[in-house]
């Protein structure tokens, strides 16, 4: 919820106050934040007890549990948005 509130404040700032000429500067800052977030995620994972052992013993099953839901949601969302949003535009 706090994330949503912060983003709404950002929307207001962008809509009312933020100078349009700094748009690309804003995008560069977003890039830096994203890379820092991904790096932090890696650090959190690496610090997790037995992370490498878990990855080697449970990695294959985890991959199956990742790939099927991911691909099937992709297919279902594509079909739904294609027929109910894109075709009706």
């Amino acid at each position: 919820m706090d994330i949503l509130i912060i983003m709404c404040i950002g929307v207001l700032v962008g809509n009312k106050l933020f100078p349009r000429q700094y748009k690309s500067f804003n995008e560069k800052l977003q890039f830096i934040c994203t890379i820092l977030l991904i790096f932090s995620m890696g650090v959190t994972l690496g610090k997790r007890d037995n992370f490498l052992e878990e990855l080697t013993t449970l990695g294959w099953q985890s991959f199956i549990f990742c790939i099927f839901p991911l691909l099937l949601s992709l297919v279902v969302v594509f079909l739904l948005t294609y027929y109910f949003i894109e075709k009706k535009k």
Partner: protein
Amino acid sequence: MVYCAMIALFFGVIYGVYGFDIHFISYITSRSNFILYCLMFLVGISIGLHKGILNDLKKYHLKVFIIPFGIVVGSIIGGIFCSWITGFTLGESTAVVSGLGWYSLSGVTVGKLAGAELGSITFLSNLMREIFSFFLIPVVAKYLNFYSCIAPAGATSEDTTLPMMIKYTNEETVVLSVFNGIICSALVPILISFCYNNM
């Protein structure tokens, strides 16, 4: 962006595994929530700069629910396939995939419900979903449609994968992506509990 993300993740894991403690880096990584708040503020500015985007969304009405609905249905069907392949029960398998990419919460929740092994599988599979999403979004944007980019991201479409949406889709998809993330995140604990106990 994708290569930078891969490199950042790789060096992050190395930093964590080998227990390095460089004060400046540890200071930043221990405040990842603050970085996420900064990112969301900046993303908000991007959306706000596009006047009229929220009005454009009003034309969708109930259609904004199509994407989260598709993600949940697709993930559960995927969970049923996984049950056949791995031999876990239907309830266990669908509970694992109900994380929708939110690895921290789902890993802990399934771990408490079904034990450490399934908890770890939930953690890893949902983490993989988030990581694969980073790399799939540009491909899906190019070959399918912008809306479908939200599907692999699942519950993470409102935060960690959002910058990829901004980079590779349009403002309308970004707003739908945030909306989808909120709905999916709210559904994750409900779905895990429902699937584990009823399927």
